[in-house]
Subunit: 209 residues, 2 copies
Amino acid sequence: MKFYDCATAPSPRRVRIFAAEKGIELPTVQVDLRAGEHFGEAFRAVNPTCTVPVLELDDGTSIYESVAVCRYLEAAHPEPPLMGSSPAEQGVVAMWDHRIEVEGFQAAAEMFRNTARGMQGHALPGPDPVDQIPELAERGRMRVGRFFETLEARLEGREFVTGANFTAADITALVAVDFIHRLKVEPPDSCGNVRRWHEAVSARPSATA
Amino acid sequence: MKFYDCATAPSPRRVRIFAAEKGIELPTVQVDLRAGEHFGEAFRAVNPTCTVPVLELDDGTSIYESVAVCRYLEAAHPEPPLMGSSPAEQGVVAMWDHRIEVEGFQAAAEMFRNTARGMQGHALPGPDPVDQIPELAERGRMRVGRFFETLEARLEGREFVTGANFTAADITALVAVDFIHRLKVEPPDSCGNVRRWHEAVSARPSATA
């Protein structure tokens, strides 16, 4: 098994935290995104979409897309469950994980990829050229604000996003909030629940992964 | 259990086909999206994101987001498996389902929501106003073309998207291709694998769901 990672990128951090919570050590290869290593022929043979994370299994199967790598790890190492136990819990975790990915993570990526100089011509992940759209960066900023409101409301009276248990939805939310922080946007003062939750999940040993 | 559906919308069709493949009958309520019923107070109490599909469980839990409703149904009714059996299969199905959702379905939604007159002010799903961005519609059209190329290459030598078994990834792809057809875009002539696969999956009884 081989884990293709980039220590500074948000998406592979979702998998790193997920694995750390389960006590799984992933044999890791760093991919130098700043040097464009993900667009080189060697990495394209591993993942033609040119993104990290990738988990390469011993039979050569590549699993990429963060949620899919987590799904593999959940099935291969069921304890502790991070994607819910009962059918209803599994559904609720998948729902919040997906919402947070779209409303938080993708919104932040829209802000970042449509403004950063280094992302010119790469406004979407992948090998194909995609121009930046400044209006989309603005829309991303607006959506990030709404994401904080959604997370704040959801965390009212709940320790974690889906209730009493820490799950993949908390991991995606933590990585999204920290990614947004790097874009110099913080949860507004009105988001006391988000701040309380963020402090708690950031204090878990897995958060440094 | 109650399934909130809209017979003409693509997202809930993912769940309808998924349930039909498993032989599950869902007690269904139609939500009239054209009349704006999803923005009304009654439906907001079921799903504050104002989207279909929603599966409301007997204890009142609402599960929305198509992939999450499917995840619940997979856990509650494991046979036949539509999200993979072994951990590696589960990872590969989740990967392709996610890629097809982002690269096919979201691209088509970008085309549709950023051009359709009825979508003015609703360029994203949900209750909050979002302006249309014409450049995003153009980008969506370009991405749809790339999606067909990706699907064509993936189906070379494979009966279904992830191999010999029909899975959730085929369902998402079928719904995406049919959604794109409604936008008057067809797979190019070079996509023989896509046409062969589309004919086969459309002939399954579940496709009429």
